[in-house]
């Protein structure tokens, strides 16, 4: 035990289980430094009152830190982060506890700042801090809650580096007062599943992202709800080549534009629902939108740039276009637009292709398609028992 105590730079006790105990008594001159791989466990709440001090600084690989249900309290506005991992370390596992009041104004202020890689954060809660959790590349974050956090710099509840996974996490009622706010922010190639982000707020001139996933990331069964008070809001966003499946993004509001879903080039959005935003689902180039619904947007239901394919989607009661593009070479196949201001809208002469779609009871017109696009035969109010030979026909139904 004596040898271990020396190595961990504190006079710690080794429990019967072999785990090294950390208590308030070990925190007289914070941070508590972990310089040796091993298993550590809190035996009391930790309270840090010193400005600019971490509670625990992990400087070794392969460290498991069990908070044992306890809370690490910070000094508030003068704090940095409760748990800090040096960027060169990896395989840190932090679990089972709470972090509160790490609300410093610098970019280093947050609950857990695991700047290394290949870490696991699980069963944690962070609140009243600047930001919640950060872990570097190839990490796993699961069953964590971040709420009521606020930062003057870029804010996030949970942030992970490239190749990470985030599962079963909640971020709620967090904000940045002078920068962008993210509920969950990921690097490239990440998977975010079964997560809920709600009621984030931001600042004028900045953006809120419910979930902002990097290139080639996947969002599965996630919910983004009611984020507001920023210039722009993106409910669920993926970068280039990302995908979104079975997600819901609703009731976002912004002074400029609130998008339910946002996809970069080559994005895939499937089986998802946007409701009550400014724009329901918006993608860039070469994207696929399939089996989705966009309803009650203040502007367009579906908005896409160029070379996208939209198949089997439904736009309902959007205040401008059900399906709208200013781009070119898009393909719209078997979509339904009902009760929008305009059903299908392609104003420019840009070689878009529309087949087997239905526009029904849209307020001004079912199709506003400029010459130069390709629109399959348009059958308007065909009546009962109609026959149409053309398999590429589109239908237009008016009162």
């Amino acid at each position: 035990m004596a040898v271990v105590s020396l190595l961990v730079n504190q006079s710690s006790v080794v429990a019967d289980s072999g785990r090294i105990e950390i208590g308030q008594k070990d925190l007289q001159d914070p941070p508590y430094r972990i310089e040796v791989s091993g298993s550590y466990i809190l035996t009391s709440p930790l309270v840090v009152t010193q400005a600019g001090a971490n509670a625990i600084w992990v400087m070794a690989d392969h460290v498991e830190l069990d908070l044992n249900g306890f809370t690490i309290f910070g000094p508030g506005n003068t704090s940095v982060s409760a748990i800090y991992q040096s960027a060169g370390n990896r395989h840190l596992k932090v679990r089972n506890g709470n972090i509160e009041n790490w609300a410093g104004g610098t970019g280093a202020a947050m609950g857990v700042n695991a700047a290394g890689a290949q870490n696991t954060l699980e069963d944690l809660l962070a609140c009243r801090s600047a930001r919640g959790f950060y872990s570097g590349r190839d990490s796993m974050v699961r069953r964590c809650i971040a709420f009521s956090n606020a930062s003057a710099v870029e804010a996030y509840g949970i942030r992970v580096g490239d190749g990470s996974q985030v599962q079963q996490c909640i971020v709620r009622k967090s904000r940045s007062t002078g920068h962008n706010s993210h509920g969950i922010l990921t690097g490239a190639g990440c998977v975010v599943s079964d997560c809920v982000v709600s009621e984030l707020s931001g600042a004028a001139g900045f953006s809120i992202y419910g979930i902002n996933a990097g290139a080639a990331s996947r969002l599965i069964r996630c919910v983004s709800y009611a984020c507001s008070n920023a210039t722009t809001v993106y409910g669920l966003a993926v970068g280039e080549g990302g995908s979104i499946r079975e997600c819901v993004s609703t009731y976002h509001a912004a002074s400029s534009s609130a998008q339910g879903f946002s996809g970069g080039n080559f994005a895939i959005v499937q089986d998802s629902l946007a409701y009550g935003n400014d724009v329901g689902i918006k993608v860039a180039n070469d994207a696929l939108i399939q089996g989705c619904m966009a309803a009650e947007a203040d502007a367009d239901g579906f908005q896409f740039t160029s070379r996208c394919r939209l198949e089997n989607n439904y736009a309902y009661s959007n205040a401008w276009g059900g399906f709208s593009t200013a781009g070119y070479q898009n393909q719209l196949w078997e979509n339904d637009a009902i009760g929008n201001y305009i059903g299908f809208y392609a104003l420019m002469n840009h070689s878009n292709f529309l087949a087997r779609n239905t526009g029904l009871l849209n307020t001004t017109t079912n199709y506003s398609i400029a010459a130069g696009n390709s629109l399959g035969t348009l059958r308007t109010n065909p009546g009962r028992d109609f026959t149409v030979e053309e398999p590429w026909a589109n239908f237009s139904i008016n009162p």
Partner: protein, 405 residues
Amino acid sequence: MKNRKTRWGEGACAALMLLLAAPCWAANGQIKLGQRNIPLTITNSGSYVLTESVTNGSGSAIQVAANNVTLDLNGYAIKGNRTSFSSAISVFEGWRGVRILNGHLEDFGRFAVGLGDFGRMERITISGCGQAVGAGEGCLILDCQVFSNSTVDIGNPIDFGPGSIVQNVLYGDSVSKYPFDAIVEGSAGSLLSGIHVAHQATTGACWVVQAGAGSLVAGCTVADCRTRAGPMIGIQALFGSLVVDSAVQGIEVVNGSAVGLRASHGAMVLRCRVNAVTSSLSQATGLYGTYGTAVSDCTITDVAGTGVEFDSMGRVVRSVSSGHAGLGYEVIRGGVVLRENHAARTSGYGYQIRGFTSLLLLNTASRAGSGFWDFVGQTNHRAQVVSSPGMFYELRSNSWANIRY
């Protein structure tokens, strides 16, 4: 929404009984709790662990008046005696971040858990209680089982606030003496996943699973639920909700209407199954869409009434409606697109389209008792119906035909 948090007044007496017996500390710093500590009011943040099963007669066994409390039941049980006002664990209003895990709660007449805001409940089994759990906003409820409860008139059995996740929860074999809003009621912007409700009997109106606006219901099941006085709805998705890969199997209403799955304004239903919905008053509907809803790739079978009923302004695609005592598909007010659906073995019409400006394309129907189609509305649009086209048929001149066979 009721009883999400315990009111101060309700626990005031117990709060005055603070720490009747001082708990002791485990080797790892956790505070050990045993029978001699019960009833208990926790007033300090910390980590608490049960070291034995405990019982409590009336009031709350454990009350929490602190933030960030972890209560590990350590595999043990907290048991009551079913008295009317008893509860196992209650978090006072205004406190949050309580985590309860790994144990059993039995025989509390009022409720098992009042969780507060941003609470977590994991791997808990609840049986013989009134309300199972009332949770506040931003809660995480995972891997729990609730059985054999007898719900009293204080709230929905499982009730949670906005922005929550409830996943892998089993609720079954329970009865209710009083009507309530829902068995599982989620507030707005929540994720309900892997929730299974089975063998529930109640006496009044009941929504078995209700998802608040902007929620996601994924992989949930409602099975064998009944009431003596309806209406009863298996799964109800409110405004802007998505229901995917879920099933309703067996809704029975003795006196009143029954609906398997109800989608409110702007909701979407994907890959769901509804089967065996019955009402003694012949007021049964398999899947009901209010207005602006979308249904695709669903199967609705054996309903003692209409399979799929739409009010107005929606779409139904690639679904099967079969074996009903009434209609296969019914549109009430119009503005609905029906495409590539199938109706079969219905006592009533395969498709009954009332109202105006609906459009039917590429649908099929077979063995409909009253006839294959009934267009009550005169301004609806329907591709020609081709009857029994037979072997190797070709419809080159009628690419959008509906087919009966």
